[in-house]
């Protein structure tokens, strides 16, 4: 518990988490506002409310999470951390828990904020959250952010520098996994096992307009919750590798 408090003090005594939070909110909810503003009243769907949260704002949260470790390396405060807490694994796990928790809460705020805004802007649309799938689509965003944060921290620990970690995360999340689908025949088969594709699969609404859903056309072998577990498994596996490397490496 002490270590969690330490990481909380560290995180909130710098400005970047506030900026990233504000940016994620602005982009996530903002995109929904634009979509709601340009869609005819009555035509908004729950699927359309979460584009900003699950695609755009997620990228910002990944960056924020990676920054939480890479700035420690950048300013060598990681060394001060390891001096204060020689058990590097517990220090880094504490950081991961704090950042993932904040990311998850932020995810819920952005998801329900987007949904609420759409409801206000497009009152004639049917935006009631009734089914389990609809709940998953909105409330699941927080889970996605939390797991994404774990993955981003793992990359941050491994790469140790902001530019590298951010580039890897953004290219991976926003470009690479999508581009693999271009490969004829095997592309979509590979995509079925890529972490961010599975994350999207978890959020997907059954029977929704395929064009509205990222990851459409991929033949996933896992159930939606299975996809989430798979995404989480990859994030945790990557974190374990990062922790082992951090433990062995000279700080």
């Amino acid at each position: 518990m002490t270590l969690l408090a330490v990481e909380r003090i560290k995180l909130f005594s710098t400005r970047s988490p506030y900026w990233c939070t504000a940016l994620a909110l602005a982009l996530g909810v903002g995109l929904t506002a634009i979509i709601a503003g340009t869609t005819d009243n009555g035509q908004m769907s729950i699927g359309l409310t979460q584009f900003g949260s699950s695609q755009l704002a997620l990228a910002v949260v990944l960056v924020m999470s990676a920054l939480a470790v890479t700035t420690e390396y950048r300013f060598s405060t990681i060394r001060a951390t390891f001096l204060a807490v020689p058990n590097r694994t517990s220090a880094l796990v504490a950081k991961t828990v704090v950042v993932a928790f904040i990311a998850a809460v932020l995810g819920e705020i952005i998801a329900f904020g987007s949904w609420g805004l759409a409801k206000v802007m497009s009152p004639a649309s049917d935006l009631a959250i009734n089914t389990g799938a609809e709940w998953r689509h909105v409330a699941g965003v927080g889970l996605l952010y939390g797991i994404g944060a774990v993955l981003a921290i793992a990359v941050g620990i491994l790469v140790r520098q902001t530019a590298g970690a951010v580039a890897i995360l953004l290219v991976w999340n926003m470009l690479l996994e999508g581009l693999i689908g271009i490969i004829p025949k095997v592309g979509v088969k590979i995509q079925a096992w890529l972490p961010f594709q599975n994350a999207n699969h978890f959020l997907a609404l059954p029977g929704g307009d395929p064009a509205e859903q990222p990851g459409a056309g991929i033949d996933f072998k896992l159930s939606q919750w299975g996809s989430l577990a798979y995404f989480a498994g990859i994030a945790i596996a990557l974190l374990v590798v990062a922790l082992i490397v951090a433990k062995r490496r000279d700080a």
């Binding site: 005594s13 060394r79 951390t81 204060a84």
Partner: protein, 303 residues
């Protein structure tokens, strides 16, 4: 007490620290002396468990650093004053450190007071001058009221007032019975601060001895003599068995004699002196002598 036993660090084919063994005793300031690149910082990082030794080990009060419970209460270290987040206030920086080792917030205010940073406690550490950063680093080291303190080149780049402050501070800490290890590449600085020296060069231990002993050994009694009558004085000095060499600007460099002796000889023979100045051997010269790496004229000075 700090105890290094056969400490070795290799980076690929480069050996940064080579089979280094020494002890640092409580109650005095021990200087860790060596030219730049001798392996001082690497050794300190290994003492603190930041770098993993290739071979050997180092113990603090009989334990490796990683096994210390709440290590800040046993060991305080200032390796680099810039190890702070520039946007974090001095107080926030100390607060998370204190929290991590179960130290109360009032300890944070106490150390800020002790180093004279109370006024700027809520200012961003990134805006601090080098001297202020150094004080913040020392405040962090003192947080847990530790028995063992390590400082890596603490006076580098400081103004004379800051240097004096740190020097006095370290001596006070030692006089309270603490173990203080401070590294430097400046012999002159160590001569004023430390009473015991651990001297390393190229990663190897050259000597561990008291400062006085080391300086006696390393400062060859060389004296620079300037006079319009050197042609007369030179042979007189050679007759007395001193080694005389031509120095810079037509001066003579005399080894083996004190300035008193040379002054007396000059007076007795009616030689006018324009300069008579004893030269302290530099650390580099001392190294050359002690390692036997010396070019010839350095060897002469010592004789």
């Amino acid at each position: 007490m700090i105890e290094a036993i056969g400490l070795t660090k290799r980076y690929g084919r480069t050996v940064a620290v080579d089979d280094l063994s020494f002890t640092v005793q409580p109650g005095r300031v021990t200087g860790f002396l060596g030219p730049n690149g001798a392996g001082k910082s690497t050794t300190m990082r290994m003492i603190l468990g930041l770098d993993r030794p290739t071979a050997g080990r180092v113990l603090i009060d009989g334990k490796p650093y990683a096994e210390l419970n709440r290590p800040l209460r046993t060991v305080g270290a200032l390796l680099d004053a810039k190890w702070v987040h520039p946007n974090r206030s001095a107080r926030a920086h100390l607060r998370w450190l204190a929290k991590s080792n179960g130290l109360p917030d009032k300890r944070v205010d106490a150390v800020l007071e002790a180093v004279g940073l109370t006024q700027v406690a809520r200012k961003k550490a990134g805006g601090f001058s080098l001297g202020m950063s150094q004080r913040l680093g020392i405040a962090a080291a003192l947080l847990g009221d530790p028995e063992v303190l390590l400082f890596d080149e603490p006076v580098n780049g400081l103004d004379p007032e800051g240097i004096l402050w740190i020097r006095t501070f370290m001596q006070n800490l030692a006089s309270e019975g603490r173990t203080v290890l401070v590294s430097s590449h400046l012999l002159s600085e160590m001569a004023l601060t430390a009473s015991e020296l651990v001297v390393i060069g190229k990663g190897k231990l050259i000597t561990q001895s008291s400062t006085a002993e080391f300086i006696d050994r390393s400062t060859g009694n060389s004296v620079v003599v300037r006079s319009p009558q050197l042609f007369k004085l030179g042979p007189l000095l050679v007759d007395k068995g001193f080694t005389v060499r031509d120095g810079d600007d037509g001066a003579l460099s005399v080894s083996g004699a004190t300035s008193d002796q040379i002054g007396d000889i000059a007076a007795a023979n009616g030689v006018v002196l324009h300069e008579l100045s004893p030269q302290r051997g530099s650390l580099e010269e001392a190294f050359m002598q002690l390692t036997g790496d010396a070019v010839e004229y350095h060897a002469e000075i010592g004789k």
